[in-house]
Amino acid sequence: MLDRVSAPLQRLGRQVVNAIWRLGYASRFFLFVLLRSGTGFRRFQLIIKEIYFTGVLSLIIIIVSGLFVGMVLALQGYETLQKYGSSEAVGTLVALSLVRELGPVVAALLFASRAGSAMTAEIGLMKATEQISAMEMMAVDPIARVIGPRFWGGLISMPLLAAMFSAVGVFGGYLIAVVLIGVDEGAFWSQMQNAVDFRDDIVNGIIKSVVFGVAVTAIALFEGYDAPPTAEGVSHATTRTVVTSSLAILGLDFVLTAFMFRGA
């Protein structure tokens, strides 16, 4: 009887202890990445290479997705706005939705699935094939040489990708609203210009994308570095990266939005 009660409690206790231990381990890992980032900045070409892999190679998916999201927003927005006789405000709707919310969030979700998963798989495989151990035996710190540049590369790429997503999205909205439906072009742009505030909308959107960049890259790198050195271990780590990053993005977005746009 006692066993039946205590066994689940022991299991729960073990899981809680493991979760706290892992959180502590991840925090220490993140701290080490920050402390040992000097190598990446002294040899900036290492970071440039990672910006290429995480940023430039993610451009296609960002541009295509941004275009379609902008076009869908314009279609949906026009449908609703014309009922109230303010179809010219469709530009404002598209721009604010993208710059404040959809640009940073959707770009970060895409970044997590495209670049985050690739980072985890790469680091996990480097570990499984003893490349990380080899580096340590060659007296080269893998945190400084491998993890640091990837972290900063991801962090720099993310806001640029979010900006690109929003810009292409606005263009998509223009194509639908002005070119296809025939909304007045002057009203489309001028209302957008009046409504979008640089500090409150654009800067806040950039802050969001930077925070998402930190979260996604840190999660992806930690999962890769912590992955068991087996095919199954790397596969699970890659899945965890996408799931954890996506949840982190949505959770952080809620918190940031609550702080940034209350009463605005």
Partner: protein
């Protein structure tokens, strides 16, 4: 001859599972020494202790007179610059060409100009017969070639101690002979000291000066290759000559065959 590596009463356990139990070893400068034993007997763990990647639960490992587990991170890295390690499957950096793999340590640890790095890398690749493969990626190399490039990378900074973790695993007989010869030749040419962890008896006995035989976390015998070949110790004899049955039984422990087939009654 002076000892380069001294392993003194070293024990090690992963959690509560003991892997090494009071190991003693000395490796003299200039020697090629082999540690042999079955898979899981603690050979690679011992190599990692010598490289300072693990800390013994008892005893100490000294390399060039310095206790490895007593070093700070910076001191350990300083020591490792004088060591090279060839991993079981080479562990080449897959995003770099053979040339860049060999140049890696030179670029990380020295301020040599790129023209000099190029010359040094080509000399190292030439020594393993792969100067012509400098532009190939690891995915374009065969298993034997990858191991040779990894060997060139291991000796890139002319280390004083070279460690080999199962260097013959998965190689065809020709590649195996080539790697064996290179281990001996590079050791002598560089004036280095080598430790070869292997269970490939015949190949390693051809090239080493001294052998330690391990089983179940302890050194069961040691000697020159001739002494090992002529050893009458049952385990060594079974291992060297690849006998099917001996101290290491062919059958995994279990119920008697008669009992398992229901032909005789087991004892209650």
């Amino acid at each position: 001859m002076e000892n380069l590596v001294e392993v003194e009463d070293v024990s090690f356990a992963y959690d509560v599972r003991p892997v090494l139990k009071g190991i003693n070893m000395t490796i003299r400068r200039g020697q090629v020494m082999s540690i042999m034993g079955l898979s899981g007997c603690g050979k690679t763990t011992l190599l990692r202790l010598i490289g300072g990647a693990l800390k013994p639960t008892r005893g100490e490992v000294r390399v060039a007179g310095r206790v490895m587990h007593g070093l700070t991170q910076d001191e350990l890295y300083e020591m490792r610059r004088k060591m090279g390690m060839l991993f079981q499957f080479g562990a080449l950096f897959t995003d770099m060409t053979a040339f860049d793999n060999v140049a890696f340590q030179m670029r990380e640890h020295t301020n040599l100009p790129e023209s000099m790095i190029r010359d040094l890398v080509l000399m190292k690749l030439h020594a393993v017969g792969l100067r012509g493969a400098q532009h190939l990626l690891p995915s374009e190399l065969s298993g034997g070639m990858a191991r040779r490039v990894a060997l060139a990378r291991t000796v890139a900074l002319d280390p004083m101690l070279i460690m080999y973790d199962e260097p013959f695993t998965g190689l065809d007989p020709i590649s195996m002979g080539v790697i064996g010869n290179l281990i001996r030749r590079l050791n002598d040419a560089l004036g280095a000291t080598s430790i070869v962890v292997t269970h490939d008896v015949q190949e390693s006995l051809k090239i080493v000066d001294y052998v330690y035989f391990m089983s179940d976390g302890v050194v069961v015998t040691q000697g020159t290759p001739d002494e090992i070949r002529e050893s009458e110790a049952p385990f060594v004899h079974q291992f060297v000559w690849g006998e099917m049955d001996g101290p290491l039984p062919f059958h995994y422990a279990g119920a008697r065959i008669g009992e398992a087939l229901g032909l005789e009654r087991g004892h209650a």
